[in-house]
Subunit: 67 residues, 2 copies
């Protein structure tokens, strides 16, 4: 999992749910500037930021054995 892939998944999921970055910022209580930077692939987000956003989007992080 790299940053570009995470950014893509979050952005796509957000659009499927029909909300914009500002609404996602309010729902997650994560700064709008942070959401923008993350979706644009410009930052290396922390676990807290990632899991909070995924949670609001109805997604979860899982760890699997590499095949």
């Amino acid at each position: 999992m790299h940053i570009a892939e995470l950014a893509r998944i979050i952005k796509e999921r957000r659009k499927v749910l029909g909300i914009n970055q500002e609404q996602l910022s309010e729902l997650t209580e994560i700064g709008l500037r942070t959401i923008k930077g993350l979706e644009a692939g410009k930052t290396n987000p922390t676990l807290h930021t990632i899991s909070t956003i995924l949670d609001v989007l109805g997604l979860t992080l899982e760890i699997k054995t590499k095949k």
Copy 2:
């Protein structure tokens, strides 16, 4: 996925593979102090740190739809 759970998974997997924190630090090129802090659940690691460690441990991060 929260920090304590990630710490537990990484620590257990590392022991299964029979390596210590110092060896994991060398294999991942991530500072020993960072590995120690992460496994002790004292930090909020970045995606780069998490994915690099999981990769060396033969694990991968996946994003799933919450059930």
